[in-house]
Every structure is written in structure tokens, then in C-alpha cells.
């Protein structure tokens, strides 16, 4: 991703953001969509294209959990562990997925396919326990076996052209 490409992408939407600071978020989401995460050079490109300092852009990125400044896998599996899901077995669900992926808790699999994380309420308490893959629809209620199928399916998918996260 070059600065010029990013600027080209931002050109049609720039006018929608009266405060230029607000433009940083769509810019970050766009480069994260391309790279899957926000490597330093991508944040530097956003700084260049929006006219803010690199440090400021990074400070914005770190405010949001779903903007990743550390490399993550092809799919981010976010398991809700807030109250409703917890009462309905999110701990077991999480442990099962971690086991199945060969992870010790949160983290990224060695093959770079999956990053597993605990997240707070994702707004689908009626389907607890649930999880979300990237920004996809919340999936639930899930039995551990459902999660196994889900992971197998994801493994079989071709690599996405853009990351939706």
C-alpha cells in the first residue's frame, strides 16, 4: 500500500469528515483491510495521507481493540466472555477452541491461520454463548462441536482478497 493508493482511496470520502482527525479511522480500516493488520509502515502511510503525526495515528489505532498493531492470523476468532455468554458456557467454548487450535489461551496459531481472543459483549446475548469471526455476523449459540466445524470450514476457504475486520 503506497501513500498515493491510500490517498486515491480517501479522495472521494474526504469531504465527509469535517474534522480531518475523523478521517484517520476509515484510513486505518482501509489499510487493515489490505494487510490484515497495521504494520508500522501502514500507519506511517495513514499519517502521511491524513497529515497527522505517526505517533498520533498509532495512538488512535491503539484505542480500538479491533485495530491490530500486532500481526494477527488470517481469521480473528473473537469469543465473547461477558456475563450472558459466560453463564451459558463461554469458558468451555473458549477452552475447546484453544485446544482444537493447539493454543494455550489467547494467541495466534503457528500456521498464521487463526488468532483467538476473548472479547467483551458483542451484542448477541440472545444467542449466547457466541463468537464473531472478524466483523462477520455473531454466531451462536454454539456447542463446542459447532466451533470445530466452523474452524474446519474456515481452513478450507481460499484466502480472502480483503480482510473484513
Amino acid at each position: 500500500m503506497t501513500v498515493a493508493e491510500l490517498e486515491e482511496h480517501l479522495a472521494p470520502i474526504r469531504h465527509e469528515y469535517a474534522d480531518p482527525r475523523s478521517l484517520i479511522l476509515p484510513a486505518l480500516r482501509y489499510v487493515q483491510g489490505e494487510a490484515g493488520w497495521l504494520p508500522p509502515h501502514a500507519m506511517a502511510a495513514v499519517a502521511e495521507a491524513t497529515g497527522f503525526s505517526q505517533a498520533y495515528v498509532e495512538s488512535v489505532a491503539t484505542f480500538y481493540d479491533r485495530l491490530y498493531i500486532d500481526e494477527v492470523g488470517r481469521y480473528c476468532i473473537n469469543v465473547c466472555v461477558t456475563l450472558s455468554c459466560m453463564l451459558r458456557g463461554s469458558d468451555e467454548l473458549f477452552e475447546h477452541i484453544a485446544d482444537y487450535l493447539g493454543l494455550d489461551g489467547e494467541g495466534t496459531t503457528a500456521d498464521g491461520m487463526f488468532t483467538l481472543a476473548r472479547v467483551q459483549c458483542i451484542g448477541a446475548c440472545d444467542r449466547a454463548p457466541c463468537l464473531q469471526v472478524d466483523s462477520g455476523v455473531q454466531l451462536g449459540p454454539l456447542e463446542p462441536a459447532d466451533a470445530t466445524c466452523l474452524i474446519d470450514d474456515l481452513r478450507a476457504e481460499p484466502a480472502p482478497a480483503r480482510y473484513d475486520r
Binding site: 503525526s53 505517533a55 498509532e58
Partner: protein, 784 residues
């Protein structure tokens, strides 16, 4: 802390303040008054009522209300108000002690401490920590928190100079605002959110800049601390002394911390001098003090005679000096370098009538600047006048590198919307932010139309002109002076090149061209150098040869120099941080040094030694202290008329300006000597001798080097060389090469500073233009 109300009115341009409306209000049942627009916290403070604060700091811009420490109750307003961002209003009724206000203070402190490690016993800030103080004074006294506290691996180096203990941070934003809004380096920000926020730089890069240490002074807790000062002392073991930085001609006021008779730390003044540095000091000024303990320091008097070379007692050394200077037929020369206080300079002239034949010549190193008299005669300005100027032109030089703290005032002016133009041959750190006119080397006059345009359109313009550049182009100096005279509202600030120049000039001490000629003609029997090493200064090689022919040499110096090994007698001097007396800044401000420590028992002050010498010579001066010498020099020298040593206090006073002692140097432009590229001398303070001697500054010291534009380096066939040979009519040196696309073709930028590199010696004594040949360095030269 900083109080805008205490900012003195301008002593120069636009100092008149319009009448202010006064507002009456009640605080804690007391009727008080304050100028309209004053924040409650300042109004209360002026009336002696303390409202606790953390984030409020007017020098950082408008209040942001980040910490909530200053909550007070205001009748008729819903909830509690932040006193730091609530302006006074007529008939306001405020309580800082009501139950509600007290409860808020308790609550805020309890929450600030919820994740605070309370590791005061191992915290450098402990004992001088606003968080500690306010917790004791306003806090609840005990915590109800039972949850585990947040922990970070500690500490983190933000840079080799600044350490960060993240868990101590109370997220007040002061350091971030300094970085973003004062230094404008854009490097410090918060990352993460909520109780996980931490101060960070982009992807963990080191925090780089010339002013980073100010964040340490600003931090109200022990989150940001000085690495070189880490675990060095507890506040109850130290003594703080207000003094002045002798790093450059700005003359920033600072505070020196002493322990065990050593200077352990320098900080900005807790009560800033708003007419000078506003409480900000540069990192070179802040971390230059380890130079006091460099192995180049001369630690004892040395006598060289028929017996050999040996260390002697100071008293004996002074006797020996008197013996060498006493005979009536001797022709004596006294050469002054820097830093030299005005008292030492004055006593040197007094000494001159008592030593040898009674007609010793006293000269100073520095730029003659014969053509600068008309500029120096113009009405001057103080640094705070820059806050009121609507247009500022910098002509020549590079204040960002040579008078660092001036950069912060210029940035402030830009933020305020003033027009700022930088004109000259050097790229500067301010270029991206202001109007830039890059003149061809040697053609400063090309920028005069810009000056005319800016000052013509402004009501309160200020021109900052560089001593060295305008000395080299006297015609441009004359034209600039004429231009400014045509616009009487304009004030001028000289960007002076050395810290002793303004003071010694006011005493009528001339520069040393004729002394060099006298040495060469064999007309000097005894040479006394005081903090002066002419062998590493302009035309150093010529000085070296001339000095070799002088029968007797006495050196007074803090550090070993090119003179030391040739001297018959060496007397160690104290540094400016250990000395007492007055330095005059580039804006003509006479400010007092106060001794913070005495690191070297066998060293003395120049003024002490000069007084002692007049006694031993049998014709004592009446003075015994710098104060007495000052009162005599003030009576004798018009520039200091009316000034009183005691009344200079801790912030100084402005001397009468306009008198130069311009003897020598070209009064008209002369052709550059030599062949090749025109030399542009650059004197970065971060690359000066002290910066090279201070181990703390190792990570930021600027190398002494040659700078070339890429095309120029290509043409000369040195594009890929690490080091180049540079030759002027005055000598030759092998220096590191820096290729920089911001530099002009057709010029060699000579960055001087390291006394061992021999760079300054390539320049001419008259401060006029010179050309240099730049080429590939021979292998043996590189190895040497």
C-alpha cells in the same frame, strides 16, 4: 508553577498593556478581585488560596481539564467546576472547602492512586512530587482499594535520556501537550485507553528532540525521570541553586542541583524567567553538566620550569604567575575566551594596567563584526517580545541549532498566527512551518526585500539577525540597519555566537586580530589566556605558530586545550556552574551565575585569580567579590550604568545597548580568501565542546563535519566517502562527510564544535568569507 500573571511586561516592542477589567468574586467567603479572563485557579492563588492541580499548565496552551483535581463548587452552577478552566465571573461565589469540593478532591486522588504503585521510596520524584504533596494535603489519607494494581515491566527508556515508569503516570497529558504543542515534534502520545493508557512514541521509537527533558520537569509524578539522574539523590540530600546556562547566548535561567559538592542535575526554573526561556531549557543545556567531570578537566595547577613539569599548590601557582608578570618592562597580552563573566572581563582590564609595563592588551576571541555597529545601535527586544510581535524575520544563522530555546518562541509565535520568515543559506528545523527564503551563500542581501515586505506590513515586527553571517556581509548589515531604521516600530535581536561576546563588548574589549599580529611580531613577552584556546579557533594554525614564539605563557582554563602543553603555568578554572558573576545574554540581559557546587578543590574563579594577582603584584584592586567588581564596572561603563548586582536578583536586568567595540574585521565586504566552495560555518550547540565532553549527551551529540549537497558531492567525487579533506588558506582538516539534499550546491557547510577536530581553525579571524577545497581524504589521514 507558571503563572501568566507573573509574566513581566515586555521591555521592548509592544510592551504597553491595555487596561483590564477587574472582576470581583468570593472564594471561601473572602472577597477577591482578578482581571477578567483569569482562571479561577489563578485568581485564588493570587489571593493565597491553593486549589490543587495536576494538568493545568498555562505554558502548554489552553487548559484541557484532564485530571479533575481542581474541582470546586460554584454557587448556581450545576455540579462541580474545574477551576483551571473556569474563568472568573462577576459576583461568583466559589468554595474550595465545601463538603462537596472536599469529597471531590478525596475522590479524584483516591482514583488517581487506584493504580499508582506508591513506590515513593524508590522513586526519584519522591520528596519533590506534586502527587505526594497533594495527596498529603488534600487526599483521603487512606485507600479503600483492595483490587490488585496494574503492573508494567519497569522502567522503559523513552530515550537514552528519559525513562518512563508507566504505572506511575496519572495521564495528565502534560508531556504529550509539550511534545505536540510546544516542541511540536509530534512524538509523544497516549496509547491504549482507560486504565491501560500509557505514554508512547510511534512503534516504540526513541523520543528524539532537542527539548525532551522539559517533559521531566513537567511531569507531576515520577513517571518521567532523567536517566542520567536516576537514583542519584533524594530531594532532602540536595541543594538547588538558581543559575544561568552558559551553553549559548540565549542565557536560559535554570536551577542546578548539588549533592556531595557535585552538580548532579540541571532543570528549568520552577519560577520561569518569562523574559528569557519561559522555563524551557534545551537538552544540551540540561545534560551538559557531566562535562564538569570529563577527563579533559584540569584538576590542579601545573608549573613547568627548569625542574620539570609538576603540580603545585594554587597559592604557589599564583605567586609564580605574579613573578612571571611583575617585571616592569614586560609586554603582556591577555586573551579572553568563553565563558567569561563581565566581572572577570573587567578585572582583566584592571589587571592589565598593573601587570608588566602596565599597558597589557586585553582582547577577546569571537567575531570582530566591525560592520555590525549600526545594527547593534537599533532598539533591542527581549525574548518575550516575540510573544507580542506580529511579524518575525530571522536573517542568517540557524536559531534552532545555535540558540535552541529561541525555536520554541518562534513556534509559539507561529501558533499565534504571527508571520515568521526564515532567510539564510542554512536549512533549519523551522522550515516546514514558516516562510522560507533560502539565499545563495554570501548573498544575504537577496533576502532584504522579504524583510522589507514583512516589517513594512507589520505593527510590531522583530528582526533576529545572526552575528556571524552579517559580520561576513557588512554591506547586507548596513542595508538591513537602514531598512529597520525606516520602520521605527521594528525591534532587533542579535543571534550572538558566543556567551561572552555581548558582555565583553559592553566593557569595550575588542577582538584579537591585532593581538595575533603582535604575537607574530614578537611584541609580546607574556601571554595570559583565560578560558581561551585560540589554537582551535579561527586561524588556529597561525595562532599555534605565533604562540610557539611567545617566551612565557600562562593559561587559566577549565579544560585542557591546545595551549595547555605549551604553557609555563596552568591555573585551573571553575566552570560557569561553579562560578559567580554576571553573563550578558544576546538580548543584553545581565544575569547572575550562582555557584552550585565546587567540584574541583584546586580550581578557582578567573575573578578570584585576577584579584589575587593584583595583590601579589603589589597594586591591589579594591574589589574582593564579584559584587564589588560589578558596582565599579557599572560606574565606569555606560552600558551597565544604574545596574545593581543585588537587584539583578534571579531574573536579571537589561543593559543599555547600542555600543559595540567593533575594532577590526571588514567594514566593507571583502572577497573570499582561497579557492573552491564558499564555506558556511554552522555552530550547533548540540555539537559544541561541552556536548562532546558530556557522556550523558553521547546519544545526541552532533558530529563536527562537512555538509555537501548531493550534486556537489558527486562533482567532487566524494559522494560515497565517509570522511573528506577540507582545505582553506588557514589550514586543513579531515572530517566526516554528510550529504544532505537540503544544502546548497556551491557551498561547504562546516559544522564546528569538537575542539579536537580542527574545523573552526579553518575559518578566518576577521569573520569574513572564505573558500575551501573539499576532496578525498588520503588513507593515512583517515587513520591519523
Amino acid at each position: 508553577m507558571a503563572d501568566p500573571a507573573s509574566s513581566p511586561g515586555g521591555s521592548g516592542a509592544g510592551g504597553e498593556t491595555p487596561p483590564v477589567d477587574v472582576v470581583s468574586l468570593t472564594v471561601n467567603g473572602r472577597a477577591i478581585e482578578a482581571p477578567k479572563g483569569t482562571m479561577l485557579v489563578d485568581a485564588a492563588k493570587a489571593a493565597g488560596i491553593e486549589i490543587p492541580i495536576f494538568c493545568y499548565e498555562p505554558r502548554l496552551g489552553a487548559p484541557i481539564g484532564a485530571c479533575r483535581m481542581c474541582l470546586v463548587e460554584v454557587e448556581g452552577m450545576r455540579g462541580l467546576q474545574t477551576a483551571c478552566s473556569t474563568p472568573v465571573a462577576p459576583d461568583m461565589v466559589v468554595s474550595t472547602e465545601s463538603e462537596l469540593a472536599k469529597d471531590a478532591q478525596d475522590g479524584v486522588l483516591e482514583l488517581l492512586l487506584a493504580n499508582h504503585p506508591l513506590d515513593c521510596p524508590v522513586c526519584d520524584k519522591g520528596g519533590e512530587c506534586p502527587l505526594q504533596d497533594r495527596t498529603f494535603r488534600f487526599g483521603p489519607g487512606q485507600t479503600r482499594t483492595v483490587e490488585p494494581k496494574l503492573h508494567f515491566p519497569k522502567p522503559l527508556d523513552l530515550s537514552p535520556l528519559v525513562a518512563l515508569d508507566r504505572e506511575r503516570c496519572i495521564a495528565c497529558y502534560r508531556c504529550v501537550r509539550f511534545s505536540q504543542e510546544v516542541a511540536e515534534d509530534g512524538q509523544l502520545t497516549f496509547q491504549e485507553r482507560g486504565d491501560h493508557v500509557e505514554i508512547a512514541t510511534f512503534s516504540g521509537d526513541p523520543y528524539e528532540g532537542r527539548f525532551t527533558g522539559n517533559t521531566i520537569d513537567l511531569c507531576p509524578v515520577g513517571a518521567l525521570t532523567s536517566n542520567p539522574y536516576r537514583f542519584v539523590s533524594r530531594p532532602w540530600d540536595i541543594k538547588n541553586t538558581p543559575s544561568v546556562c552558559a551553553g549559548c547566548s540565549v542565557g536560559c535561567n535554570l536551577e542546578a542541583t548539588e549533592r556531595d559538592n557535585e552538580v548532579k542535575r540541571l532543570t528549568g526554573r520552577p519560577e520561569p524567567n518569562f523574559a528569557v526561556e519561559e522555563g524551557w531549557i534545551c537538552d544540551r543545556g540540561r545534560w551538559g553538566y557531566p562535562a564538569l567531570r570529563s577527563d579533559e578537566r584540569i584538576t590542579g595547577p601545573v608549573l613547568v620550569d627548569a625542574v620539570g613539569r609538576r603540580t603545585v599548590l594554587l597559592d604557589r601557582a599564583v605567586n609564580e604567575a605574579a613573578g612571571m608578570l611583575g617585571r616592569r618592562e614586560l609586554r603582556v597580552a591577555v586573551l579572553l575566551g568563553e565563558p567569561i563573566t563581565v566581572e572577570a572581563g573587567f578585572l582583566a582590564t584592571e589587571f592589565a594596567t598593573r601587570a608588566g609595563n602596565g599597558e597589557a592588551m586585553v582582547r577577546r576571541m569571537g567575531i570582530p563584526g566591525h560592520g555590525l555597529d549600526p545594527l547593534r545601535a537599533l532598539p533591542g527586544a527581549q525574548m518575550d517580545d516575540l510573544d507580542r510581535a506580529d511579524a518575525i524575520v530571522v536573517l542568517g544563522g540557524d536559531p534552532c541549532a545555535q540558540q535552541p530555546v529561541a525555536e520554541l518562541r518562534l513556534r509559539k509565535a507561529l501558533r499565534r498566527g504571527a508571520r515568521v520568515a526564515m532567510a539564510g543559506p542554512r536549512p533549519t528545523a523551522l522550515d516546514p512551518s514558516c516562510q522560507v527564503t533560502r539565499t545563495t551563500p554570501g548573498h544575504l542581501q537577496d533576502a532584504l526585500p522579504i524583510v522589507a515586505e514583512l516589517i513594512g506590513a507589520a505593527e510590531r515586527p522583530i528582526v533576529m539577525w545572526d552575528e556571524a553571517d552579517l559580520a561576513a556581509e557588512p554591506d547586507a548589515a548596513a542595508a538591513l540597519a537602514a531598512l529597520i531604521e525606516d520602520h521605527p516600530a521594528t525591534r532587533a535581536i542579535e543571534l550572538a555566537c558566543d556567551v561572552s561576546g555581548p558582555g565583553l563588548r559592553a566593557l569595550g574589549v575588542a577582538t584579537a586580530e591585532d593581538m595575533l599580529a603582535a604575537l607574530e611580531a614578537g611584541e609580546v613577552d607574556v601571554l595570559l589566556t583565560i578560558q581561551a584556546d585560540p589554537t582551535t579557533g579561527p586561524e588556529g594554525a597561525r595562532w599555534s605558530r605565533a604562540i610557539d614564539g611567545v617566551p612565557r605563557i600562562i593559561e587559566m582554563s577549565t579544560y585542557r586545550s591546545g595551549v595547555t602543553d605549551r604553557a609555563d603555568l596552568v591555573l585551573p578554572l571553575l566552570t560557569a556552574l561553579e562560578d559567580e558573576g554576571v553573563l550578558v545574554s544576546m538580548t543584553g540581559r545581565a544575569q547572575r551565575l550562582r555557584p552550585a557546587a565546587r567540584e574541583c578543590a584546586d580550581a578557582a574563579s578567573a575573578w578570584e585569580l585576577l584579584i589575587a594577582l593584583t595583590h601579589r603584584l603589589g597594586r591591589p584592586v579594591p574589589d574582593r567579590t564579584p559584587a564589588q567588581a560589578f558596582s565599579r564596572l557599572a560606574a565606569e561603563h555606560a552600558a551597565f550604568a544604574g545596574l545593581d548586582y543585588g537587584e539583578l536578583g534571579t531574573t536579571g536586568a537589561v543593559i543599555a545597548q547600542g555600543r559595540g567595540a567593533g575594532a577590526g574585521g571588514p567594514a566593507a565586504r571583502r572577497n573570499p580568501a582561497g579557492d573552491g566552495l564558499l564555506v558556511i560555518p554552522c555552530r550547533p550547540v548540540f555539537g559544541d565542546a561541552t556536548a562532546h565532553r558530556s557522556d550523558a549527551l553521547a546519544s545526541v551529540v552532533e558530529p563536527t563535519r562537512v555538509g555537501l549537497a548531493p550534486a556537489e558531492a558527486e562533482r567532487l567525487g566524494v559522494r560515497t566517502e565517509a570522511r573528506v579533506r577540507i582545505t582553506t588558506p588557514h589550514g586543513e582538516a579531515v572530517l566526516p562527510l554528510e550529504v544532505d539534499s537540503r544544502l546548497h550546491e556551491g557551498a561547504a557547510y562546516l559544522f564546528t564544535g569538537d575542539p579536537h577536530a580542527g574545523a573552526a581553525a579553518l575559518l578566518p579571524m576577521d569573520g569574513g568569507p572564505v573558500r575551501a577545497a573539499v576532496g578525498v581524504a588520503q588513507r593515512e589521514q583517515v587513520e591519523a
